[in-house]
Symmetry: C2
Subunit: 331 residues, 2 copies
Amino acid sequence: MQKGNTVFFKNRPAIAAAAAVAGPKECAGVLGDFVDAALGDDMFGENTFERAERKMLLTAVRLSLQKAGCGAEGADVFLSGDLLNQIITASFSARETGMPFLGIYSACSTMSEGLLLAAMLCDGGYAGRAVAATGSHFSSAERQYRYPLELGTTRPPQAQWTVTGAGSFVVAARGEGPAITCGTVGRVTDYGVSDVNNMGAAMAPAAASTILQHFQDTGRAPAYYDLILTGDLGALGSRLCKDLVWEKGKDIEPNHVDCGEIVYKVIEDEFQGGSGAGCSAAVLASYIYDKLRRGGLRRVLFVATGALLSTVSSGQGETIPCIAHAVAIEA
Amino acid sequence: MQKGNTVFFKNRPAIAAAAAVAGPKECAGVLGDFVDAALGDDMFGENTFERAERKMLLTAVRLSLQKAGCGAEGADVFLSGDLLNQIITASFSARETGMPFLGIYSACSTMSEGLLLAAMLCDGGYAGRAVAATGSHFSSAERQYRYPLELGTTRPPQAQWTVTGAGSFVVAARGEGPAITCGTVGRVTDYGVSDVNNMGAAMAPAAASTILQHFQDTGRAPAYYDLILTGDLGALGSRLCKDLVWEKGKDIEPNHVDCGEIVYKVIEDEFQGGSGAGCSAAVLASYIYDKLRRGGLRRVLFVATGALLSTVSSGQGETIPCIAHAVAIEA
């Protein structure tokens, strides 16, 4: 990296367009006024959760390409991954679009990994336009990671709710749009949390570590950013993250917001808020991107967070390794 | 991309070192004389298949860093993925090494995706040294994708055998070693094969498509390369791939070898040969890399192939989308 774990983009690759799709529960909250496609029901006209998830991702990708004024043939590469085993949502979507495809996986921080790689590929001259996208679906995630929905299992109060939604970004080597100016690649951090219902606590140290590394590498203070936007720490995880950063002498309280914390009006059993790869992707691709385009925000540090466990690793008694990547977006 | 789907590396990032680890069945074949660590038994002193797989990957990574004359702190980024759900082999290994980590997934073509991205990051000035690695384990793959071993399920004759092995490469922005000169990013190809026991047939069109695209983008003929090394098509898949390329007017028969076809002395039920992310990774990182270093080979086109299915997608009646990425390595 050019400095510590941080890369700097001298050619200022721009986010030419973004598009987001979200389910009905999500659209009842802040996303409702900003997404490009609001689903009437979370099956999206398909007969399986997995196909619905795929259709959301594909829709977000196609809308973002449309807004960027090009089709799939105008994009050099598609960077995508998702929460399902073997990232089938991304792979099957790649098949439909026909774009050259690089599969990535970083759990719920897939969006920031995708944006970072897209920026490197565009800035380095390897791609003219790169599409970075991800998504998640509550029901496919519950089935795979937790329990069949039909069981009606009670959720503990520290749990989060996987967002049904997708976000897609078209990053361009040149042109209009908020620029990706630098980014910090995360290290895997594990404080020994093994409670799979408490992802916020597991991921908070990874977010704090990447945020602190970013400040150190760039020499920037928290106040440099209008907004430090973490991925899906939720309410509890956000407090832990802010405390961990504060302990190291930096205060992000005034300008920190967490996508998981704001995505729902928490009225039922969403408890700590939203999670899932689609959470930070949809929030950034709609509400936040809109503010960046209209001047409501000028400098955003996007820090999506991911828990890199599997049902097998948890079943074998392992703790939860987590990661967070930071992407600086400046209008 | 700079031309079609192909990127060219003007700064000639070099493969500074490579290391491979393989299981006993694999070491009975061509790998035996070339791997850095040959396992006496495939549990590698661990109590689960998954931990054994992880230990293989970690061992390969650490040996490659040692051979490159640096530790994990000398590498800027670790690019890795594997066949297990949520790429836990890569993620948990990333936790142990502490390197900044970018998770990737491209099934059995993960090695070529990793090398391609590592070359872009080094060539573009984003990393001084990047580690790209992957691996697989017969028993963890069987358990996850097929049947518990204890069932003793009969294998059909078109089946391949997942390689127990791992390969790791240290790519450096400058210095000694075979250079990565260009690479072609694959598109997802699906000819409608849905037989999960016939991966070779499913993947052959993806390999052929990427090889043809590479020739078209670079203007090179098959004879430019001493060796065109496909991933894990196996015996049947290799024949199909050569036929598909030949139909388009290019003949790769004289200089084509498939890692899956050569990795085993096929004497039992390996049938079509080897497969798995560790197959092409271990063959390239040992036998082939050795030949590149010693002058036995000068120009190799490495085309690892991947089948992007999951048990869920197959269970829902989907066909198998496949991909192949090509990396040109020149001594």
